[in-house]
Structures are given as C-alpha cells and as structure tokens.
C-alpha cells in the first residue's frame, strides 16, 4: 500500500484534492508522517527536539499539537508559545496533530489526551514554553559545537542563530539534525514575559490558507481506493432497538453492497455515498420501543417540576436562606426557567475512515477530541492489540463538545460497522445531518427554580436556586457541572442556597460549548437583573456593588460598560441588556442592543464584549472566539430546541427545524481584551454564556416580558 498526498498546486486543484490513499497510485510516496498531516512539499526529514517540536532541514518548525484543531485555534496558539521561546520567525512555524497517546500528550488538566473545557492554552502554556526553550537550547548547543564557540555567546532571533564575534550565522534547518542529538537542559531558561515578541501579537493563523482554497483535509475528505461507504439507520426514539427489518428494496439499489444489523441500528454498505443513503432510505425497520424513552418534553418538564418539592443534593448553603425569606419587610420574587435539549450540530457530522494494512494493522482517521480513548475503543471493537491500531486525528468541521465522549460511543458504532465487514475494503462511516440532530448526547434539559429575597433597604439578602436535570458526568451524587456558575455565585449575597436534582432518562447527555454555564449563566444573570430592577438599581452599578470582592469581574464589567457608553440613552425603539459570566477561569461581560424585530422576535443589533483571559497569547484568535461564541450562543437562545414529541419521538431532524443563526441575524460585535499578566485561561467557550441572558435582560426591559423558557423564538410555532 502506498500513500499519496497531493500537494496544493494549481494543477492538483483541478485534478483532485484531499488526502487520497490508494493501493496503486504512487506518484510520491510518503511515510506515516503524511498520515499525521505533515505538510506536503515540506522537509522530508524532521528532526525531533522533543515530543512537541520537530525542525526540518528547510528551516520549518513543526509543532505537534496534542489538541485537535476544530476552529478554536490551538494550532496557532500552541505554535505561538513554542515560537516565542524558540525565537523562531512566525513564517517558519507549522502545526500538525500529535499521535494519540494518553501519557505523552495528556491534557494536564484531564490526565488523558483530550481537548475541551477551554484548556488547550491554559494546560499547555508552561509545557510548550519549556518545549520551545529546550529546542532553542539544543540548537544553541549544536551551533556551539559546530562553530567551536561558547554557547553563552550565541544569540537567536527570528529564526537565525548567530555568533557575533566570529560572524557565524545559521538558520535552524542546517543545525537541526545535530541539535536533535544534544542533551536537553534539565530546566530550560524561560523568557521574562516583558521580553515576549510573539505572544500578544495579532499573528495570522496557520490553518487559514488551506481553509480558503478547498485543500484542507477533513475526515470526510479522505478517500481510499475501493472504499466502502457506510451509513446506519438509527431509531427516532432514544433507547429503541431493532425488532426486525426488511432490506429487500435496499439491496436492489445499484451500488448497495451489503446490509447488516449492528447494535445501533441497521448498517448499509455501498460503493458510494448516495447509494448508501438511497439504500438506507429503502430499508423497512421495525423498532422495539419496550426500553425506549417515551415521555415527551412537556411530560419531562412536568416531571422535573414535581422534583422541586423533594429533597435534593445540596451544592451550597451559606447563611440561613429560609430565615432570610421570612425576615421583616422582605419582598420575594420567584421564577421557573425551562431549558430545552440542545444539539451541537457541528458543520461536519461525525465520521471516520478505516483502512486495514497488509500486516493486519488498521489506520483510523477521525476528528478525535479524546484520541486516546477513541484509539482504545477502536482497538477493542476491532479485536486488535492497540499497537496494531493507529488513530490519526484529523482537523474537523467543528465540535462544540460533540466529539468528546467518554467511552467513545460514536467510535463503537463506526468501528463496529467496519468490524462487521471482512476488512478487505477500506471504509468510510458517516453520519448524516439527520443522524446528528437526532443522535442524542445533547445539552440536557434543565428546569431551574429561582427565589430571591430583597429587604426593605433594597438589598438582595437571599438567593435560593434549585436545578433539575441530568448529570452530564453520569453521577448519582452531586455533579459540579450541573451547578457551576450558581454554587459559586460571584455576587455577595449573605444567604445563598443551591440544590440539584439528578434525573434519569434514556436521552444521552453531553457537554455543549460552556457546559453548565449554558443554563446557570442564563438563570443567574437574568434573575439577578430582575432582582436589581425590582429594587430600583442599575444593572451595571447594581452588579458592581455585589462584586466588590471580585476585582476581575469588576474590571471586565466596567470595561464593557465603558465600551457601550452604558448610561447613555439607547436609540429609539432599542433597549440594552448586560450580563457577565466567569467560565473556565475567564471573565466575559457583554452588553447587547436589541429592538423588536418585524417577526415579533428580538433583533440583536450590536454586542459589546470585554474578556479577561489572563495573558492574551493571540488577540486575533481570542477576538474570533468571542465573536463565534456570541453567534453560537445567540442562535441557541433565539431558536434552538430538540423536542421529544408525543410518545418520545424526536421532533427535529435537520437545519430547517433546528435553526442556526444566519448572517442576517448576526449582530455587529466589538471585542476588548483586558490587559493582564495572569496565567492564560480559555477562550473557546467563555464567549457563549453571557449573550443569552444579556438579550433576555434587554428583552424584559423592552417588552416587560421576562424570558422563562428557551428558545425565545419557537420556530415550530412560527
């Protein structure tokens, strides 16, 4: 078998693109490096300095990213950190996915390899500064030996190694092989941050060019000669299984090769994607619903609401909440807020490619958020020694949490579909958009009951919040992801109680971009805004008074108020709303300006956003994540719900009824990054939580209608 990686030339655009893996094509043979995505046309040999840095004879520096690039910018961010300590020039930097390895490439926040929780920069910062500094020291050591001069007299800047006294000078490439043999320093010297030349600069992203000319290779773009295309017919109820099926018509579809029952449904194998889809559509499957979830979303809401009266799991209790509510002259406010299931709906649905090699080993290609786990799962399902399975992480078309699953249920399905064949033909397994929207692993449904107590002086003296919903982590006891953002309420309120109830249902839950903050941020920030309004306080001033012990919250909120010229009157017919949410150790405050749209829904014109994420490694990427997070969060609060209809059948199926924000609905956005010398923290998720409550707060002030149920616009009734 040979591997052919077509390079990005004009001619190849016209002839074909993507990573083509063939049995007979062999214009240029690459080693396994091509599978790891080493840029085609680059150096043939890369000298490893350490697990994270390789230097090519052509002076390119390749950073092995332990984190998957699905749009949040780790390739660029991690390369920036390495380049800074290496004193490389930005133009020589490249990034690829590292191999799957839960030890060498562990996320230091997780203990296994994984991308999520907005941790890519935070957990890699020190590690990759050291990796860059180590590589620099090894290059200097090689130069000192080569030139026979003291290492202390050698300088490195913008990718050039120099010895001033002798006039010797070299790029990295010429010394790379020798550098790789040098003993790395036990404790490399790191720069003083005041000397940074790349960190903090608006460097262009490394992956932009290939994503604008069609040459970027996603899992769906990998093709192998004689490849099978497989899709699976899934049930419309969670927990349903195949009772019986008739594949007579499916097998008549030209190009359909085989049909097999698998644990997740019925798999159709074909010679091309369309034949597989047409074959699947021709299947007649009868489902066994005896263990399925048959409750509708409305029934679930009613069942969840009943749990308010039961004894729950106490997350926080400061002071004496019951006493606070019964105090003399105390006014109270109560609200119930209902949150729907949410699908992540990344642009590239789940997919994977399997290729069995002549030696019996298998290459797996997928957009792995937990590569180590996907690797182990694939090996187990394929009944192979893990050493015989290579998991090749590909860039992927978004995830928002969807591709990070404990136990790798998607890989179990995909590898199982491959294992059910004789393995002689490579196979691509793909989910359609319908599989994705109806596939579960949603942001769970939650119902919050909020109670607030205000004393005669207009102080908020009591906060009592009960949260009912599934534990994302599958816990029987308290799941911190259900209450994060509420149990650690930033506002100084003397009597605070947060209670959680875990619910059990057949709909599999998962983290969705910003996890618990997707609902706690909304509940906390809309309710505090309403309480402040009741006691006649300004939303910004009122919050600041409650945040006196939280300087970074205060700094971020003051900044956004200044940006929006808070306090100045909004234009006619418009209203503003504010929210601030700390998530993943980053602080994000947003002010929105809205009006009543022609369709009776909020029209969001503008969002001002201030973020404090510690050291700003790449302000360009940070701003992009705030912009994208705002759009993602806004689409969800305005339009999105996955609903279980009568009998538990999933209602939605594609983008026509699971709406995405579109360009005509995207507000203008202004982002400011708070200067900081604190450790860098995440930006992939923290832009999401504030926009929903900020819109709801503006909406309440505009229409007098508080938002008690999401989404704000129900597309099904529209």
């Amino acid at each position: 078998m040979t591997i052919h990686n077509i390079t990005a030339t004009r001619r190849s655009f016209l002839a074909g693109a993507g990573l083509v893996i063939g049995f007979t094509l062999a214009p240029k043979v690459f080693s396994a490096q091509a599978l790891e995505g080493v840029p085609a046309g680059g150096a043939e040999t890369l000298s490893p300095m350490n697990a994270f840095v390789k230097i090519g004879a052509d002076d390119t520096v390749t950073v092995l990213s332990k984190h998957i690039e699905f749009g949040q910018g780790p390739f660029t961010g991690l390369a920036t950190i390495v380049a800074e300590e290496l004193d490389a020039d930005w133009s020589q930097m490249r990034a690829v996915h590292s191999p799957a390895d839960d030890k060498v490439y562990a996320n230091l926040a997780f203990g296994l390899q994984g991308t999520g929780g907005s941790t890519s920069i935070a957990n890699s910062y020190e590690q990759l500064r050291k990796a860059g500094a180590t590589a620099r020291a090894m290059l200097v050591s090689a130069a000192a030996a080569e030139w026979n001069v003291p290492a202390s007299e050698i300088t490195v800047s913008k990718g050039r190694i120099k010895h001033a006294a002798s006039g010797k000078e070299s790029g990295f490439g010429a010394l790379a092989a020798k550098a790789a043999t040098q003993t790395p320093p036990a404790e490399p010297t790191l720069k003083d941050p005041k000397d940074f030349v790349l960190i903090g600069q608006e460097l262009p992203k490394l992956d932009t060019l290939s994503k604008t000319n069609g040459t970027a290779v996603y899992t769906l773009d990998i093709t192998a000669e004689n490849m099978l295309y497989a899709v699976v017919e899934h049930p419309a109820h969670f927990g349903a299984t195949v009772k019986s099926f008739d594949d007579g018509e499916a097998r008549k579809v030209p190009g359909v090769v085989d049909v097999k029952q698998v644990p997740q449904g019925v798999a159709v194998y074909a010679d091309n994607t369309f034949a597989a889809l047409k074959g699947r559509a021709a299947l007649k499957v009868e489902w066994d619903l005896s263990k399925a979830e048959t409750r509708s979303s409305d029934q679930l809401t009613a069942d969840y609401t009943k749990m308010f009266g039961e004894k729950g799991l106490q997350a926080t209790h400061n002071g004496d909440v019951d006493k606070a509510f019964s105090g003399q002259g105390v006014q109270s406010l109560e609200a119930t807020i209902v949150f729907p299931f949410l699908a992540h709906a990344p642009m590239e649905p789940l997919d994977a490619v399997f290729i069995k090699r002549a030696d019996g080993s298998v290459d797996v290609y997928n957009g792995a958020q937990f590569p180590g786990m996907d690797h182990k799962t694939a090996a187990k399902v394929l009944n192979l020694d893990p050493a015989k399975v290579r998991l090749n992480t590909q860039i992927t078309g978004g995830s928002f949490g969807r591709k990070a699953q404990f136990g790798s249920p998607y890989m179990q399905e995909a590898a199982g579909v491959f294992a059910a064949t004789d393995g002689t033909r490579p196979m691509k397994h793909m989910w359609t958009r319908e599989d994705d929207i109806r596939g579960g692993y949603y942001r769970p449904m939650y119902v919050h009951k909020m109670r607030g107590a205000m004393d005669a002086d207009g102080q908020i003296v009591g906060w009592d919040q009960t949260i009912v919903g599934q534990s994302i982590m599958g816990k029987a006891d308290l799941d911190s992801t259900s209450v994060e953002g509420a149990s650690d309420l930033p506002y100084t309120i003397p009597n605070l109680r947060v209670i959680a109830h875990n619910t059990t249902l057949e709909v599999p839950p998962l983290w969705w971009r910003s996890v618990g903050h997707t609902h706690t941020g909304f509940a906390v920030e809309t309710f505090v805004d309403e309480l402040l309004q009741k006691v006649g306080k300004d939303p910004v001033e009122g919050r600041l008074a409650l945040l006196s012990k939280e300087p970074r919250h205060m700094g971020t909120l003051k900044k956004v108020a200044e940006m929006a010229n808070w306090g100045s009157p909004a234009p006619d017919g418009r209203q503003r709303g504010v929210a601030i949410v700390k998530s993943f150790d980053s602080y994000v405050a947003q002010i929105v300006e809205i009006s009543l749209g022609e369709d009776g829904a909020p029209r969001v014109h503008k969002v001002w956003c201030a973020v404090d994420c510690g050291v700003a490694v790449n302000p360009n990427v940070i701003a992009a994540q705030m912009e994208g997070g705002i759009g993602y969060g806004l689409g969800a609060v305005l339009f999105d719900a996955i609903t279980l209809g009568d009998g538990g059948k999933i209602v939605q199926s594609n983008f026509h009824d699971y709406r995405s924000l579109r360009i005509n609905e995207m507000p203008a956005i202004e982002v400011a990054i708070i200067p900081s010398t604190e450790k860098p923290t995440g930006v992939g998720e923290p832009g999401v939580p504030p926009v929903g409550p900020a819109v709801a707060n503006a909406w309440r002030r505009l229409t007098n209608n508080p938002v008690r149920q999401l989404p704000i616009v129900n597309v099904l009734s529209a």
Partner: protein, 152 residues
Amino acid sequence: MITFKLNGQERTFDGDPETPLLWVIRDFEKLTGTKYGCGIAQCGACTVHMDGTTRRSCITPISTVEGSDIITIEGIEGKEADAIHKAWVAIDVPQCGYCQSGQIMSAVALLQTTPKPTDDDIDGAMAGNICRCATYHRIRQAIHNAADTMEG
C-alpha cells in the same frame, strides 16, 4: 451517460442519474473542497457555480447537469475570486473552515453581480450559508474589503 464540464474539463457520469452533483464531485471526481452539511439545501456547504450562478449541489441530481458548466472551490478564478480569497486570508475568516468553500462560492457570485454590495446585499446573498462557528462578522467584513480592493 451524462456529460458536463467540471472546472473547465469535460467529464462524464454513467451511474445512477438521481445521484446529487455533490456526491459525483466528491465520490467520483475526488474533489473534496465542496462539503456535505445537510443534504437538503439548508446550509450551503455544498455550494458550487452552475452555468455562472450559485447552486446547492446536494439537491441537484446529476441528470439535470447535462451540458452544464460546473465550477467548484478548486476551480474558481477571476478578479472576484482573487479579491475574496485575499480578503478571507487577510482577516483570518475561517475557524473550523468546513463551511468556507460554500461561503466563498456564494461571496464570489455576489461580487460578480454586485461589485459594491451593501450589508443588505450581503445578507441576501449569504443567508443561505450556515457557519456554526458563526464567522459571519468576519465574512461580512471580508466581502466589503474585497469589494474595496476590486474598486481600487
């Protein structure tokens, strides 16, 4: 047997005539820049140019493509395409990048008919292209920037 032009080259297809153009381009022609996103013309990831106008290739049966001229992201060229490409790169529009081929095909078609688009023109031409990363803010800016460079 269906005959059509793909990026200027004559191609034939003799499989199932119902096969959408998208899968002919991807599975048979191995041009993978054009993406699958929804299969029902809701997201625009599959956008190509057919005889000079945008077309959702996922719902276009190959039988309707007989004699047509198809241009994909791999073959798009001209001053509008150059301006759009440069503008996209200059402000790092893509995040995950998966929808961007479709976005660019729609944006190029917009500039071909409307060299100096307003925000409303952009909304009208681009609302059929979903970006789940919500790079819309930069897409709008890049289209305006591209129009400015074409003018200059």
